[in-house]
């Protein structure tokens, strides 16, 4: 190994790094070469001096505090911007230009979006309310009492089925102001798309001949022309030959009663409650 290679090898040797492959050979050369010993010695002294002077830089007083202050300010600004950006994004989400893919005029977009959402919400609410009203609203009354007698008495008995009960909360109850001991079982009949309960009964006229009659029980809500009477035969029965009919409402039952016989009002009087 010559002097140049030995000095170059030692030049970049650092104890912390195994960077010199031929360090042992170079050290041996330097030990044997007075010129290299002098040169390497001078070089080491100069390097030590350069290192000390290079590191000897006065740091300005307060620099650390200024740096920390600047960083804190930057963090505060970033946090503020992040929160503003989050609020902006939250308020302008989906308001995106189809061409550019960037948010466009968030304030205007927000107003439009608010209006659109309000309209949609109102529409949904109205639809819901309307639907619910359709589902829960009581059906409109469809039955005219003056026509009931003819409709029921002219219907064929074989078309009727046993009555099971009214739809909704109305319960079938017999009148208390009329003698119901002669009533047969109730049958269901549809009048103007509404269910009514029809009882048949038979009474005897003065000659002892059987006379058929009907007691029709109708939910109050299904009747258009509600009667003002509240008991059987409280007023003069209506006689439309050959039928005699009386109608009344009994308080607390929610039902309209129609009693009719093929005959005059004297036959109806046979249906007055018997004294106990």
């Amino acid at each position: 190994m010559n002097c140049q290679i030995a000095r170059q090898t030692l030049e970049l040797f650092r104890p912390v790094e195994n960077s010199a492959a031929n360090l042992g050979e170079a050290e041996q050369h330097v030990n044997d070469c007075l010129d290299c010993q002098e040169a390497v010695g001078v070089r080491q002294q100069v390097d030590l001096r350069i290192g000390r002077v290079c590191r000897d830089v006065n740091v300005p007083v307060g620099l650390k505090d200024r740096l920390l202050t600047e960083l804190a300010a930057a963090a505060a600004v970033e946090t503020s911007e992040a929160s503003q950006s989050a609020a902006l994004v939250k308020s302008s989400e989906n308001v995106v230009s189809p061409q550019s893919g960037t948010s466009v005029q968030p304030a205007v977009g927000t107003r439009r979006r608010w209006l659109l959402r309000s309209l949609v919400a109102a529409g949904v609410a109205l639809t819901g309310i309307g639907g619910a009203w359709i589902l829960i609203r009581p059906p409109a009354p469809t039955i005219v009492l003056k026509d009931v007698t003819k409709q029921v008495l002219e219907s064929a008995p074989e078309t009727m089925v046993p009555f099971q009960g009214f739809r909704g909360s109305v319960a079938l109850q017999l009148p208390t102001t009329m003698d119901t001991s002669n009533l047969n079982g109730a049958a269901l009949q549809q009048l103007n798309a509404r269910d009514v309960a029809v009882y048949s009964f038979t009474i005897r006229d003065g000659a002892g001949r059987p006379v058929n009659g009907r007691l029709i029980v109708i939910p109050l809500a299904a009747v258009i022309d509600l009667p003002s009477t509240t008991s059987f035969l409280a007023v003069q029965p209506r006689y439309n030959p050959p039928y005699c009919t009386t109608t009344w409402v009994e308080k607390g039952k929610g039902l309209v009663y129609v009693c009719c016989v093929k005959g005059d009002e004297h036959l109806l009087q046979k249906l007055l409650p018997r004294p106990v």
């Binding site: 001078v42 030590l48 830089v57 200024r66």
Partner: protein
Amino acid sequence: MDQSASKLADLVERYYALLYRYAYRLTGCVADAEDLTQHAFLTAHAKWNQLQDETKAKSWLFTIARNAYLKELRGPACVVTATLDEFPAPAPESGTADFDGEQLQNVLNSLPEEFRSPVILFYFEEFSYKEIAEQMNVPVGTIMSRLARAKAYLRQRLTAAPRPAAVAHRRPAASLSGSGSISRTVPHVRAP
């Protein structure tokens, strides 16, 4: 964000003085060095998510500072061109090592940045060759070559030459590159 701010504050505590000294030796100017140090930490704050290995935070900070120096502080007006012909002949390795910080800074200022940065980092004794090479983004062999030449240049200028005049550092320095011309900075020098 609080965690990164805390870690960055810890980095400030540990490395602000070292980074400032490097910035000063790099720029030769107190004001520029302070600006560069602040810029490096603010950039680190802004790009904290890009730091993949926190054990390399020190090297990362120094890389940021150097990149900022190259990008922000080295303006076109400061760039001069020197040729290989201006490089003085090597001096014998003899003489006395009697120089102060200003003289060292003058000689450092005369070095092109690609030689100045590694030699500063070498004398700081804070980074391995590999770490210096990574900061400079060049192979380790290139760094060792540049270091050998830069160290020889410093020794030659600081031991053989007489005490330089006050304006000597403004003279364009010789190129240490292999051939052709190079661009380098001539920053304004103030006392630290």
